[in-house]
């Protein structure tokens, strides 16, 4: 076989694949939890040697584990709800960004940019303080407890990011798709809903999943505004044990571990899908 020299007068760089979300995965394996586990066991073992009257750090952690896991389930619940709300609003905003109406388009864009560039924690405070504690919908009073407000606060940045994901995916489609649909006398609305968006769904899935993982990790922010999720419970558990310093490392490491076990598989799946879709395209 003859190999052809690549002919050019310009110095070249190879094609660059930007890292936006995950792009790493050929060597990733679940044994990465081992270091965290080692951390928990190691730190509790060290702590153990010093204290024989009290319950060992590991046993103490075991005792609190069911409660902490319950707390984590609450985090998952918040993340699922915030994702649902954020995706719904974000989809509307994203499609708004593609509108032919200039006013709709630019105000959607502005709203997206505004919420995308704000820190998650600030948006969380924003929702906590500015939402009323109850809303009156046609005479029915719906109370808004803190955790609902926190969920809405977390949904705001999700909304902005979903909006951007949609816009990015639609713009990345070759314009030939629009033209082909136009030549078939589809209306713009039909083109968008029947031709463009279905094709984009696949492209949007990996960044959307990545966003979900980020959101899940952001749910601990709710502890700062007093929602009883896993981080808050951890703090309470530590206080209930009388602030023993030997418990700090194992307890915090345990929280890290729960999130890792939950988020890491999502990250892996994201990488896999990304690979698969990039091969197809």
């Amino acid at each position: 076989m003859k190999h052809h020299p690549y002919k050019t007068d310009l110095p070249v760089m190879l094609p660059f694949k930007p890292v936006e979300t995950e792009s790493f995965g050929s060597t990733i394996k679940l044994w990465y939890v081992v270091p965290i586990l080692a951390l928990i066991l190691g730190t509790s073992a060290i702590a153990q040697s010093g204290s024989d009257i009290r319950l060992g750090a590991l046993q103490t952690l075991m005792r609190w584990m069911p409660l902490l896991l319950q707390g984590f389930i609450f985090n998952v619940l918040i993340s699922v709800m915030a994702m649902a709300i954020g995706t719904g609003l974000g989809a509307a905003l994203g499609i708004g960004q593609l509108s032919l109406n200039r006013f709709v388009r630019s105000s959607s864009w502005l709203l997206t940019q505004f919420f995308r560039n704000a820190p998650w924690l600030v948006l969380l405070f924003f929702a906590m303080f500015l939402l009323p504690f109850e809303v009156n919908v046609f005479g029915i009073i719906i109370p808004l407890p803190d955790w609902v407000k926190a969920t809405i606060g977390l949904a705001l940045p999700v909304m902005a990011n979903v909006s951007e994901i949609i816009r990015g995916a639609v713009l990345s489609l070759p314009s030939g798709q629009w033209e082909a649909a136009e030549s078939l006398a589809y209306s713009r609305r039909q083109t968008l809903w029947l031709i463009i968006l279905p094709q984009c769904l696949k492209r949007m899935l990996p960044p959307w999943m990545n966003l979900y993982a980020i959101l899940t990790m952001a749910t601990v922010l709710a502890s700062i505004v007093g929602v009883s999720e896993v981080m808050t419970l951890t703090g309470e558990a530590l206080a209930a044990e009388g602030g023993r310093p030997d418990l700090l490392a194992p307890f915090y490491a345990f929280v890290l571990l729960i999130f890792f076990v939950y988020c890491y598989p999502i990250a892996r799946l994201t990488v896999r899908l990304e690979r698969k879709f990039s091969v197809i395209n």
């Binding site: 760089m13 094609p15 270091p35 560039n117 820190p119 303080f129 993982a213 310093p245 999130f259």
Partner: protein, 248 residues
């Protein structure tokens, strides 16, 4: 200047829009302190996290499997756990292991204060992403260019420093930009360990003045501007790195 400040007092009296840090000297001091702390925290973390990214990407190219593994574990651990918990872990769990030193008032204080832990924690967090960003840039540098440097007798480190990294840098700036913007936003987490940064000081002000709405909007605008400055600086850097006749 006084007239300018006064204008905000009048604004408050006339409309109820209360921005006390504009007319009240004490609150102005707080907000400036907070702003300065946020800028300092952001700048130091940007610097450290970029260094971590460069060093980590270099270690990932190490001929030793163990080294590469350790870097990969680091990346995955910091990417897939909440940065807030990482911060707590550093501040509380690691913090108690750090020796205390005598301070100016005759007492003792921790060797690393909350600001220091925020720097460490956030730098490692953003650094994990930066390692991957730099690695992807390095992959875009043609092997033949590196071979040319090898043939000239450059050592592995020299090749990385003089050839691979400068070339990689030029393609990764947009990705790096994204991550650093996130980092600046993430500095608000330092609030949780009472670092007196912008969010923390704003919180103090709205507790005293009951002007949450105004402070919230101010915060959103402030971070918008900070992020804008960073993006502008990165674009400037990107343009200054352009090589004549190079790139697409």
């Amino acid at each position: 200047m006084e007239a300018f400040y006064e204008w905000f007092r009048i604004l408050y009296e006339d409309t109820g829009i209360n921005l006390p840090f504009m007319y009240d000297e004490y609150d102005r001091g707080r907000i400036l302190n907070g702003l300065w702390a946020t800028i300092k925290l952001s700048a130091i973390c940007v610097l450290f996290s970029v260094i971590i990214g460069m060093v980590g990407a270099w270690l990932q190219g190490s001929p030793w499997k163990t080294t590469r593994r350790i870097v990969n574990v680091y990346i995955q651990l910091f990417r897939n756990t909440p940065p807030l918990v990482q911060l707590y872990f550093f501040y509380f769990a690691v913090g108690i292991l750090i020796p205390r030193v005598e301070n100016d008032w005759g007492g003792t204080s921790p060797l690393i204060d909350s600001f220091g832990w925020a720097v460490i924690s956030l730098s490692f967090f953003a650094g994990a992403f930066n390692v991957e960003i730099f690695r992807s840039g390095i992959e875009a540098v043609p092997k033949s260019t590196i071979e040319a440097a090898k043939a000239l007798g450059f050592s592995r480190l020299q090749i990385y420093k003089d050839i691979t990294l400068p070339l990689a840098l030029r393609v990764v700036i947009p990705s790096l930009n994204n991550n650093l913007v996130n980092l600046v936003k993430t500095t608000t987490l330092a609030y949780a360990i009472a670092v007196p940064e912008l969010l923390y000081e704003s919180n103090q002000i709205w507790s005293d003045n009951v002007n949450v709405t105004e402070m919230m909007l101010f915060l959103l605008v402030a971070y918008f501007v900070l992020v804008g400055i960073l993006v502008w600086a990165m674009n400037f850097w990107d343009r200054s790195l352009k090589i004549p006749g190079f790139g697409q």
